[in-house]
Symmetry: C2
Amino acid sequence: METYSIGDLSRATGVKATTIRFYEAEGLLPTASRTAGGHRVYDLAHLDRLGFIRHARQLGFGMEDIRELLRLADAAPEAPCEGADAIARRHLAAVRERLARLRSLEAELERMTYCHNGRVAECRVIEVLTDAAHGHCADPTHGGPDR
Amino acid sequence: METYSIGDLSRATGVKATTIRFYEAEGLLPTASRTAGGHRVYDLAHLDRLGFIRHARQLGFGMEDIRELLRLADAAPEAPCEGADAIARRHLAAVRERLARLRSLEAELERMTYCHNGRVAECRVIEVLTDAAHGHCADPTHGGPDR
DNA sequence: TATGGGACTTCCAGTGACTGGAGGTTCAAG
DNA sequence: CTTGAACCTCCAGTCACTGGAAGTCCCATA
């Protein structure tokens, strides 16, 4: 059976070796077997699972969600998959919320960057920020937790 | 002159007392004077500055950017404000990048949540994630650093 | 078989922007 | 004067890694 070092796995998936070790410590990847000297040894199953994790992360799922998705993926194929669906829907809703906030941020930032080569006295950027102290901000949409 | 406790400031701005202390420790807010017993005492200038910081945070500026914006806001009114403009433009560009990534995430999440009440064997969510291990993901847009 | 150097190991601290808790002190109303 | 809410400091935890230090292993070449 073909085996891989942590470096092979890293090059194959684009996930750094430190991050792979981190995933193992967090229980997302099963513990690898070791050489006599203590180096980690992986196989195809690890490669697939790491790909799964990487893609889920790219889609913005948190580690708790990924843990759950992995549990579901490992479950019997006839098991119902409402769980996975629910996680994805919940995440989609969160993404849409962030989109809405970001769009409103974009609009306000566009408005404030009309200041060109002015002086601080007439700077829109400083002005908008300063006036906020007195509650002149029209759009409260971007008030939630960001990023 | 009217003075405020940290609680007054917190209620007035919606910023938690712990966060206000944190801003002081980070140098965003000037150190408050104290009562004989050691409680912080604020004035209007603090209130304004905290409003400035809060709004900048809501707009997604990082603390380093805010430090710079505060420096600029405190500068002589005749000083040029290219700096503030540059920060805002840079941030706008970052926001637009995040928007693009989020839109592509939204699209892929939409595609994968078509799975309703199926079984794991035919679950789109699990499937999409699993296949990613073999590189079948069409859209690489959401590969960058997210959130 | 020896050696050199790149890949690997563990452990720990740092990131950003807070948040929460423990354990103790101060303030202001009654 | 008493009570209890608000305040104080210090420290650890959050999330998903990342980087460094100090040491060990593996393997290709000589």
